[in-house]
């Protein structure tokens, strides 16, 4: 195994460390949270170096396989999380994001998506299509993380949990707003990705994954419309999580069933 391919190991270790340390942050803000944030930063840097290595050594697009796409997807999710995750109040979002990121990166590694000198020569359009679709799904993933955190914190506030002020969680209003923005960004990226994919589309190419992707678009678009009409807070968060279930469960199932 080339040395640069081994970068997946520190990335995975750092993400794993971050996931564990975020659990420690639940007991109260402090060292665990800072360690977790450094884990995310270092892991992301290691993964960035890995992706650069893959991009420079491959002939074509290096993330065309499901495992390669998963590798790029994890990088996008963690990168987007870093925008908020460094702020102490948003650290707990990492508890929703980092275990998933560590698991998916391990899966990508096991599936051969972190190797060098692989790639397909499907061309630039496919690369743009896949990149945009993955960025869209990454945005929806983060949005779902915020929706999950909203549901959890809203329940704690409703039940008058005594420790409600001891665990630093973003305000409900901020979670609701950022989750909606994540959906908006995700929808935009997905629409652009579909547009890029349409350039290569030929009659008869329709498959289950496309149908599910369109269903995902419809669910999230409905969410935004309903939110505009007053469906905010818990209901919006639950609908967001339903949409994410399509992304996380149904889409991979339809992809592998083909």
């Amino acid at each position: 195994m080339p040395m640069s391919e081994l970068l997946v190991v520190p990335a995975l270790l750092a993400y794993g460390e971050a996931a564990l340390a975020y659990a420690g942050e639940l007991r109260g803000p402090g060292l665990a949270g800072r360690l977790a944030t450094w884990g995310v930063r270092l892991g992301w840097l290691a993964q960035t170096a890995l992706l650069v290595g893959q991009a420079t050594s491959a002939d074509g697009f290096p993330w065309g396989t499901w495992a390669g796409a998963l590798n790029l997807f994890v990088w996008l999710v963690v990168g987007a999380y870093l925008i908020w995750g460094c702020r102490p109040r948003y650290r707990l979002l990492g508890l929703a994001v980092m275990p998933v990121a560590a698991f998916l990166l391990a899966l990508a590694w096991a599936g051969g998506g972190t190797g060098l000198e692989q790639g397909d020569d499907s061309g630039l359009v496919l690369a743009i299509h896949v990149g945009l679709m993955l960025a869209g799904f990454a945005s929806l993933t983060l949005s779902a993380g915020m929706a999950g955190l909203y549901v959890w914190q809203e329940r704690r506030l409703k039940r008058h949990v005594r420790r409600v002020l001891r665990v630093r969680v973003p305000p409900l209003d901020a979670l609701d707003r950022l989750a909606a923005r994540g959906v908006l960004a995700g929808l935009g990226l997905l629409a652009l990705g579909i547009g890029a994919g349409a350039a290569r589309f030929e009659r008869g190419d329709v498959d289950a994954a496309m149908v599910v992707t369109l269903a995902i678009l419809a669910v999230y678009a409905t969410l935004l419309v309903l939110r505009h009409e007053g469906w905010r807070g818990r209901r919006a968060a639950l609908l967001n999580l339903c949409g994410f279930a399509l992304v996380a469960v149904v889409l991979p199932l339809t992809h592998f069933a083909q």
């Binding site: 109260g28 803000p29 914190q153 002020l165 409900l172 009409e229």
Partner: protein, 413 residues
Amino acid sequence: MTRLILVGVSHHRAPIELRERVALDPERSAALAAHLGQEAVVLSTCNRTELYLARPDDAEELAVATLTDLAGDRAEELGAVLYRLSDEAAALHLFRVAAGLDSLVPGEGEILGQVRGAFEAGSTGPFLDRLFRQALHAGRRVRVETAIGESPASVPAAGAALAQQVFENLSGKRILLLGAGKMSELTARNLVSRGAQIGAVANRTLEHAQVLADSFGARALGLDELREELAIADVVVASTSSSEPILRKADVAAALRSRKGRPLLLVDLAVPRDLDPAINDLESCFLYDVDDLEAVVAETITGRRSEAARAEQLVASEGERFRRWQASLDVVPTIASLRALVEEIRDSELERAGSRLSETERKHVESVTSQIVAKLLHLPTIRMKEAAAAADGVVYADVVRHLFGLGEEERRV
């Protein structure tokens, strides 16, 4: 050698009758510090009055006499409650005070400002300047590196903190006050201090509502005019003396229709309760009564105590840093004498060579010899300060004085 003396009384042992006798407002504290002369700081808060003196002579009796004067006819009670600390222990005590660790509620934030005020009003010199600057640093460090000051320590503060848990920013958020009681006013003031605005004050007696509303620039309402205000309020604070609930679930549910899902925090400080507990079942409504808030406060105070253990470690490290600095003062005169001697030798040698050198050469030789002196003395200076911190400073200082004959000429004179 300068000694630090602390003499004071505090809430730990002194009753309020004695504390109020020795308490001083900022102006009188400043005047007393000036009267005590260089270097003196008077720290007087509702929980303590403390005199910090840094003098070469023993200033303890002066400090005790000053407090005895302040206590007046209660002076005989002073002996049993007065504490006297010196040097490292006194510094550590001040660091604990600045960090809020000596306060009634651990981590309370007001004390840091009071320490800063006392420092600025004191008559400080190099010693107390260093001590108080480090105390302020220790206080800030504890607040940044631990969560001791983050959680609310009172019911009104808990209400405000919960509002911040629901809303991202309280700036511009609208408060509806039900009742014109003291508790609702306190909670409202806490919310206003965080950027919220009081939209309306509703009360059974409109005149009472008007008085409070005027003080906040809000409008006064009767209790039968709430529906319209409920539709636009973000936080409702209730504390009327009504024996029946003022707001029922149906009233709030009706208002929710026009709120478009915006959250509503309701804080019920009244006993019997003003707000129907079933309101909490409504979506986007968060209702806290006084028991809920007290439970939150009790939990956060427990949290503050556990954070206090971490804060104590930080304060101890600051105390050690101060001890090392104070110990290094023992060798400062020796270091100064050594440097003066070397400079004197350098100057006289330069003077002797002066006539044989051009102006450019003289400047060059001056620069080179100055660098040689600085480099030669750097390590001995550091080592002497380190030795001082490890309690060997006096021995080292004596050896250096003996080897270089420092002070011998003065003795001969």
